[in-house]
């Protein structure tokens, strides 16, 4: 198979393009929360994003990659003509990447996840046949697009409510914050590490028992909480910048917590969204090298590098500007509110990643922000924009699908 190199290089280029798009757009949303609340500078946010996106992709990205790779299209139907699946995956990558570029240029709200799933369903249903789509799995994914923002919103609501009850309503919120913020740190670190250990470490060859997993998560989370508590203890009130309630300093305490949740958010994002770029790429490589659609070849490490690397490049070239503009606009999300949104979103996303469900990280984050708003945490939310976001994915799916169908027919005619 001489053509296999053509397929693999094309897929690598398209995958890099898609990863770039994700880095330029989606990651910026995930990190802007921390920049807007001034918990991190833009430079720090990019470093955090680069490290934790990569870790998330490698440690916890396997399940979603598997779903994108072979959970949507019924590969068995194509065993007689594996090349169709290659064309399709190439078309889906290019379609989603193109749509992402066009949409962000025009300022339309899009989701990378919705584009890629729409694109794969599109080429499979039209290019191959309606039966080629695993509708049950697709239905589950679409359901999750409704459920995941609601879940994140609900969690964020509860977290922020607890912040109000335990800290903000008190006569001495600063003392309360110093007491309780390490507990939030424990909760954040525990959830993220536990899901990673339970779902992710198998992919890197570590297999722990359930008991060991919990023990390890508790140990890591305790370590994080102790370090956090030590940092927080050094924060002293600034009498010039505040009034009797010390909210200014309280926010600085939450700022420390927010560095942690920002890491969690980048990790969660990497674990779910890297798959959008490398899932199709992995599918193409698997088929091209073995000639077999059902091949269960392991993910080559350079694929992950392309995914992680593309995201970091996108972030560095274009994403930093998005972070800056978004960060400036969301200053209402002070650390006490921003951490609640981030922690809720990261938890929801990581659980979805562990279950192998591709969801839109941005929509989850929007849901989480609304949850904080419902707990009377946000000064003003524009409901018109929220409504626009809700319909946005309805447009994104057919757009991705249409482009994928066009590219699919072109590739089938042009490629060997």
């Amino acid at each position: 198979m001489e053509a296999q190199y053509v397929y693999i290089s094309l897929a690598a280029v398209f995958g890099l393009f898609m990863a770039w798009g994700i880095g330029a757009n989606d990651v910026a949303n995930a990190m802007a929360t921390s920049v807007g609340s001034k918990a991190l500078t833009i430079k720090q946010a990019i470093i955090v994003a680069a490290i934790f996106e990569f870790l998330g992709a490698v440690l916890a990205g396997g399940e979603v990659t598997a779903t994108i790779r072979k959970g949507i299209v019924d590969a068995e139907l194509l065993s007689h003509e594996p090349r169709l699946l290659i064309y399709g995956m190439l078309a889906a990558l290019l379609a989603a990447g193109t749509w992402l570029l066009v949409a962000s240029r025009n300022g339309w709200p899009v989701s990378t996840t919705h584009s890629i799933v729409g694109a794969i369903v599109g080429f499979a249903a039209v290019g191959i046949g309606v039966d080629a789509v695993q509708w049950g799995a697709v239905g589950k994914i679409v359901m999750s697009w409704v459920i995941s923002p609601l879940t994140a919103g609900f969690i964020a609501y509860l977290i922020y409510l607890s912040v109000q009850r335990l800290i903000l309503h008190h006569e001495d919120p600063l003392a309360q914050a110093k007491r309780y913020v390490p507990m939030y740190m424990f909760f954040a670190a525990f959830t993220l590490t536990l899901v990673t250990i339970l779902k992710g470490l198998k992919h890197v060859g570590l297999d722990l028992t359930l008991q060991d997993s919990y023990f390890m998560a508790v140990a890591i989370a305790s370590g994080v909480a102790v370090v956090g508590a030590l940092i927080i203890r050094r924060i002293k009130p600034n009498p010039k910048a505040e009034k009797s309630q010390h909210f200014y300093t309280v926010e600085r305490v939450f700022g420390v917590l927010m560095i942690l949740t920002a890491c969690g958010m980048a990790f969660a994002h990497g674990s779910n969204d890297v798959a959008n770029a490398i899932g199709p790429l992995a599918a193409v490589i698997g088929i091209a090298t073995t000639g077999n659609v059902a091949a269960d070849s392991p993910l080559p490490i350079w694929v992950l590098v392309i995914g992680g690397g593309g995201i970091v490049i996108g972030l560095a070239t274009y994403g930093r500007r998005v972070i800056a503009t978004v960060g400036e606009k969301i200053t209402q999300l002070t650390p006490s509110r921003g951490f609640a949104a981030e922690l809720a979103a990261a938890t929801t996303i990581v659980i979805a990643s562990g279950t192998g469900i591709p969801i839109s990280t941005t929509h989850v984050l929007v849901g989480a922000v609304l949850g904080v708003g419902l707990a009377r945490g946000i000064e003003a939310i524009d409901l018109r924009v929220v409504a626009r976001i809700m319909v946005s994915w309805v447009i994104t799916i057919p757009a991705g699908a249409f482009l994928a169908i066009v590219f699919f027919y072109i590739f089938r005619a042009v490629l060997p």
Binding site: Q245, K329, V366, V369, R376, A380, I381, L383
Partner: protein, 224 residues
């Protein structure tokens, strides 16, 4: 580039409202210098202060319009939009009344009778105090939003409003005493001037009334 995460945040009215009460208060504060000059008959100085009052009232007015424009009905906020707009309206009236009363005095070069001038300046002072306390209370808005209008912060602001009420009651008593003093000497005054002095006292007293209404509006927010 439009961004959906950024755009779900409407522009917050909190800081602008705090800025607005600050301008209104600074406007009312000018009355001290204004009447100090006016009772001495120093009309060139009074006119200068009056120009500053007009400038500040104008500034408050512009900010009021800007805040209204940025509070569309589609905003979801922890407290009703209408209550915030009402608060803004009474805040603005502090500056309005200041402008009205200074305009009336300058326009007629109205002489406050020397017998009551000290008592009158003290009355003006107390009204400005009320505006200042209104500013102090409204400046807690940001903290109130942070605390979600619950808990210790609410108690704190309720205390500030109580103090505002006491100042307002004080101005009412001073106003009554001042009217009595004026009544005692009114026969010796030019009748038209006497009528206008009564009116100046009335208008000045409304500054504390408006400050007190700022407190009432703020109190409504606390009960949410």
């Amino acid at each position: 580039m439009a961004n959906m995460l950024a755009n779900i945040f409407g522009s917050s009215p909190v800081k602008p409202l705090e800025k607005h009460i600050d301008i209104s208060y600074r406007c009312a504060r000018e009355l001290r210098g204004f009447f100090a000059a006016a009772v001495k008959g120093n009309w060139s100085k009074a006119r200068k202060v009056r120009a500053e009052i007009e400038r500040l009232e104008h500034e408050a007015d512009n900010l009021k319009k800007k805040i209204r424009l940025h509070l569309p009905k589609s905003l979801f906020m922890p407290v009703p939009r209408e209550d915030l707009l009402e608060l803004l309206l009474v805040q603005d009236k502090i500056a309005n009344r200041t402008k009205d009363v200074s305009g009336l005095v300058v326009g007629r070069e109205l002489q406050i009778p020397a017998e009551i001038s000290e008592q009158f300046l003290d009355f003006v002072d107390r009204n400005v105090d009320a505006a200042k306390q209104a500013r102090k209370s409204v400046r807690e808005l940001n903290e109130l939003f942070t605390a979600g209008f619950r808990g210790a912060e609410v108690v704190l602001v309720a205390g500030m409003i109580e103090k505002l009420d006491r100042i307002e009651t004080d101005t009412d008593e001073k106003q009554a005493a001042l009217r009595a003093s004026l009544f005692a000497i009114e026969k010796s005054l030019d009748p038209i001037d006497a009528i206008f002095v009564y009116q100046v006292i009335e208008l000045t007293g409304e500054i504390a009334d408006m400050a007190e209404r700022v407190g009432r509006r703020l109190e409504l927010l606390l009960s949410h």
